[in-house]
Symmetry: C2
Subunit: 493 residues, 2 copies
């Protein structure tokens, strides 16, 4: 048996030895039962420490290639002939794929997001279910202009690969955008993601162990709850009031449960529409620092304010880098382009990018270029102004219809964002109403989806007012009320 | 204490009870030390089984809201005042983020993919490192034509959301494409992914538990090895020869290690360039069925054959649905658009799509439409023909340069794909050569990256011939040989 060790190699000696023995075994230079030199002899011969040989032999044993007996020494057990003699099983069978799922994916998630994404093509239904911007407000002309320019000047770039953390020019534009939100960061603290959903996913995969506790506002976005739970985190809800998350209860739960993260949507929260008060924001940052619990701040709707004064994101108040900030262009520019971003300390960005390269290499280049130009050429602010105006109109149409005609439906007028969160009278069975509404051609999200395990059901529903067209809002609310009346009359029978 | 149970609700009784008590506690209707009714009394009062109350109380205890003592009964312990009295810590500190990483991400991966993606902007270096198609061969005119048509006819669609499993028309085109590869499947067995890297990621997250064994060809694609290991799988290499993976050793390892999956790249394997022989393909399918071990077939290069006859993918030979098939448009059309696909049984597609919606909702819509039109309008075949011809030329330039001028470098001429896999003389230290090469302006991937833990280093290197321009290939190989000569002369000193 000849083994050569390269002393100047950066491959550990024991690995060099293991691999060379493995190659000999597989190439049948060492037949079955061939006795290997003793650990001591081989160590001496190769002029290495005996523990090096012990480790090499251990790994070969773990791979089932060698064995050792007292007396007999260490010998080769690999022999494919033995395998060839085993009888083949003669029946044809299908795999039971569902029995192979991993522990973490045994649980079935409600495919509510799939359902919302699949509403296309069913024109019969007016959808208040999605979190989708108005298709008729797409910056059509600007997009056309940008794409034609890009095809002319950069056709090789826009279809080629990009850096894992995102296109450099786009990151610079995001840095400027963040200045408008009161956040001053260098571009190396920015990472472009395939929407902010991917931002949450990357953070969760990088930080969360099974049974880690994450505190969430209750109710909150189902996509976040499901993602946290899919990795085995224990999600604990913190109640909210009209000023946002209840800080007293949050602090109590931090002391009791030692959570790993606090997840919050401070601006126009999904689904409640509530914006955290400025006092609460300062308190939350204070609590985060006091207990060294970092915050995941999810801010997809922050710039979509229709009434009142803009408030700074938590990240703007975060002097000590306790906040991982997520945002996206999905709600303002285009959902379909799938471009969002994370702001985090540089070390965290580097760690996240190691995972990002393994999950999908990088965000698609064409989308990044289109959005970069949209920002660079100054279309963003104008577009934002335009959609704010239109969404305000849509919100008012929906709230007016509800107030005027839908007695017993209680809700607060949201000052921004995408949703109205309202409560049906207690006597109404939400399930029955939901089925009836779908039958009547209107869709919404029942409130229980915004609680972990969908467990709470106090007759809230979420209505989106940005996606439907104005006349569809009127018709859709009418259908909702009709459904309500129909089941009421049944239960009165 | 008033609790109302909705008997016709689909929320379990114990959850209804738990939530109502929780609300009372948080709203301070039940002050600290308030004694709750006994389980028996409450069960009687609410007319439910006692075990229902037991469970509700258990969960409230787990959340730190109530406690029970023998004698005293069950009582409320929530009291935020206690927390307010704890002294704040007065020193400002930064979070030690790296101490918070999850178990699975504690390990640092080599960011080789990031490095390859970041080579842009360094024009000094000629890169043979990437797995990137030639930018100068992009179907520029076709892309322009398609995009302008899409902007005219479908501008609302191309920037809007799409279904989680992919655009319906694109899935239909992929179904047709698969027919050309000998695979007949319905569209419901197709799922569009953000490149085939995401395909592997989704499969691994759906199926792999910590310590599951995955058999891989050795050497193989580093992105797959890293992804498997990032989820705690035990990756075991199976040696390959000029016909592909060694079936005898594979079978031996199946018997020894009971693996969960076999991962293979049968066509123009990365990095070796070897295509599995047709006999081996049948044997592999046979082994997979015999032992009920499913195969992950990764086929990014299958259609890029420059010599010889096309071979069917494993999926075409797979009568019993044991193969999860992955492919991508990244190597043929555009890497930057990030569009790949999975073929799998319908139930598996449904399961994968539940995860897909949580990770990034869907593949970006614009890319899907561009690729769909590219296929539908019949550009794909013509484009394939064109790039095959050019890549053949590039391959021949590289192999000729190597054969003529680079004595001691041993390699087989690959019949297709993207790479030349060759061996440097043993006396050369690969690390020294690599550093010298970068200094001299040429980049490649050292062979050890294609082994788990980068542990094997027998002086192979991988050279990509598709990305560099023809003249760059000649200059780059010259630089490689110069680097080789320089370190040779040093070691001869």
């Amino acid at each position: 048996m000849r083994i050569n060790i390269k002393k100047n190699s950066n491959v550990a000696f024991y690995i060099q030895i293991k691999n060379q023995i493995k190659d000999m075994i597989y190439s049948r230079q060492t037949p079955k039962n061939y006795v290997l030199p003793s650990e001591r002899d081989l160590a001496k011969k190769l002029d290495v420490n005996r523990s090096t040989i012990v480790r090499a032999y251990q790994e070969l044993k773990a791979e089932g290639l060698i064995a050792s007996d007292i007396g007999r020494g260490t010998y080769v057990i690999y022999n494919n002939a033995a395998v060839e003699n085993t009888k083949p099983r003669n029946f044809v069978k299908s795999l039971f794929w569902h029995e192979m799922y991993s522990e973490s994916s045994k649980k079935n998630y409600d495919d509510i997001i799939s359902k919302i994404m699949n509403i296309d093509g069913n024109n019969r239904i007016i959808s208040f279910a999605g979190g989708i911007p108005a298709p008729e407000l797409f910056p059509r002309e600007e997009f056309e202009k940008i794409q034609i320019e890009l095809l002319k000047s950069k056709v090789e770039n826009i279809f080629s690969h990009s850096p894992v953390t995102g296109d450099k020019l786009l990151k610079k534009e995001i840095k400027h955008l963040m200045l408008n939100r009161g956040v001053r960061i260098p571009t190396k603290e920015v990472m472009v993601t395939s929407g902010s959903q991917q931002g949450i996913d990357l953070i969760v995969r990088t930080f969360i162990n099974v049974n880690d506790v994450i505190l969430i506002e209750e109710p909150t976005f189902f996509g976040a709850i499901q993602l946290f739970e899919s990795l085995g985190a224990k999600v604990v809800g913190v109640p909210t009031d009209e000023y946002g998350v209840r800080i007293d209860i949050l602090e109590y739960l931090i002391n009791k449960l030692n959570p790993k993260f606090i997840y919050t949507i401070p601006n126009f929260q999904n689904p409640t529409g509530v914006s955290m008060s400025i006092e609460r924001r300062y308190e939350l940052i204070g609590i985060s620092k006091k207990y060294s619990i970092p915050i995941i701040e999810d801010d997809p709707y922050g710039e979509l304010r229709y009434d009142g004064r803009q408030l700074p994101p938590l990240k703007a108040l975060d002097k000590h880098n306790y906040v991982l900030y997520l945002s996206t262009f999905s709600k303002v520019i285009s959902l379909g382009l799938r471009v969002g971003w994370i702001i985090a300390p540089e070390g965290v960005i580097n760690k996240l990018s190691m995972l990002k390269q393994l999950t999908d290499l990088h965000v698609n280049t064409l989308s990044q270029h289109i959005i970069c130009e949209f920002l660079k050429q100054g279309y963003y602010e104008k577009h934002l102004e335009r959609i704010r105006k239109q969404y305000l109109l849509k919100r008012d149409i929906m709230t007016n219809e509800l107030k005027r005609n839908f007695e017993g439906f209680k809700f607060e007028n949201p000052k921004g964002g995408f949703y109205i969160w309202g409560k049906l009278p207690n006597r109404v069975d939400l399930n029955t109403l939901f089925k009836k509404s779908i039958k009547n051609g209107v869709d919404f999200v029942p409130g229980n989806f915004f609680y972990k395990n969908n467990e709470k059901n106090d007759n809230f529903i979420r209505l989106n007012f940005t996606y439907p067209k104005k006349d569809e809002i009127i018709i859709g609310i009418k259908r909702l009320m009709d459904s309500f009346d129909e089941i009421k009359s049944i239960s009165n029978d």
